[in-house]
Symmetry: C2
Subunit: 217 residues, 2 copies
Amino acid sequence: MPAEKKHKGPIMFPKATLERLKLYHTLLQEEKNEYISSDEIARKLSIKPEQVRKDITYLDYSGKPKVGYHVSSLLDTLDELFGTKVTDNIIIVGAGHLGKALANYDGFENYGISVVAIFDNNPEKLGTYVGELVVLPLDDLGRVIRRFNVKIGTICVPGESAQKIADLLIKKGIKAIWNFAPVILEVPEGILVENEDIARSALTLKHLLDRTPTEKI
Amino acid sequence: MPAEKKHKGPIMFPKATLERLKLYHTLLQEEKNEYISSDEIARKLSIKPEQVRKDITYLDYSGKPKVGYHVSSLLDTLDELFGTKVTDNIIIVGAGHLGKALANYDGFENYGISVVAIFDNNPEKLGTYVGELVVLPLDDLGRVIRRFNVKIGTICVPGESAQKIADLLIKKGIKAIWNFAPVILEVPEGILVENEDIARSALTLKHLLDRTPTEKI
DNA sequence: TAGATTGTTAATCGATTAACAATC
DNA sequence: TAGATTGTTAATCGATTAACAATC
């Protein structure tokens, strides 16, 4: 059936809009007042108020003219959008400093993320505790993924082994990879990858910093 | 002097281009061959080859028709752009799990980042070691910033105290903030903020995952 | 030379902004 | 009601893509 373009179902958000919606989410969580205006949101994020209003039109939500947006119900709408009230079980592969920090990260609670296991093949780490979790061998991956219905796998291993781990995770049924390793992963179609290489993100900072006009002496 | 629009000096890159250039940087670091084509870069990143070529025109670099881009010299150009060969000293505030993981992160070496100090005001942490660094009290901030010419301050404290720490860092002379706390910071003009709230970045993953067509049963 | 690949210009597309209408 | 703020439409701007010229 051609000429059938607009179908019901998941609305696609412009990527930039989605990024801003995440920032609104953070901002609203901090907000103490009952209502907030597009002007105030914009000011705090250094963007334009019409941008904020436009972004919000993508949501199934309306503000009140003359009053602003009702903070808690806009937050509910965003929680719905991101699924933060639905808990997703995730696993972490790699019990190095970063893997351990993530396993212990308490910020996940508010976001519907629960770390159910951490894996490592280093015999010295196997069986040790990371918070309340015991470090498990990779052989247990499949079992844990099935048992906890895990869709998201977090990669915290060195770059050299990241692709191998990605392949393994996918083979064991993972649908999305949260990649903290400093490499570009190749994955089959349909598998999501979210890159989170921490050093790479510092590049933006370094780039902008170096270009800031030099101070007068 | 009006009508003077195009001035020499730092070229401004479109934000999206800059993001991709970071990915090219990562990709080229892994590349074993001497040359790489725009087609291959595009394939690995799931983008279009003309996008890659266009992005590269922003750089002071030319490829070779019929051959491709010379990997090591393109990498040099990108290193120059991001300043990865120039070491920036950074400090970390907050010696929790994440702060400690960052202090120990060995991926920074390749990116021209050196962690010179970690701070915390919790008396139980003061004086303890994080890798080779001793946890220092916030009172030492100014001294360390001056001594090591620190421009980048990393915030790894809980959301509640993040704004206070940001204010303090700026007062002590920091020019850029790398913010791992789950809040939006307000800073004076001229101060850079790079947000890196880890849980927030999981929102994208959750959002997309929830919208993936449900599997047939 | 022919062929492959880069580089560039023009066309298209999409996102942002401006202007203003709607609304409480 | 008047005024403030949202919501929407149209204009602008910028980024992506397509087409093709340049080049080795």
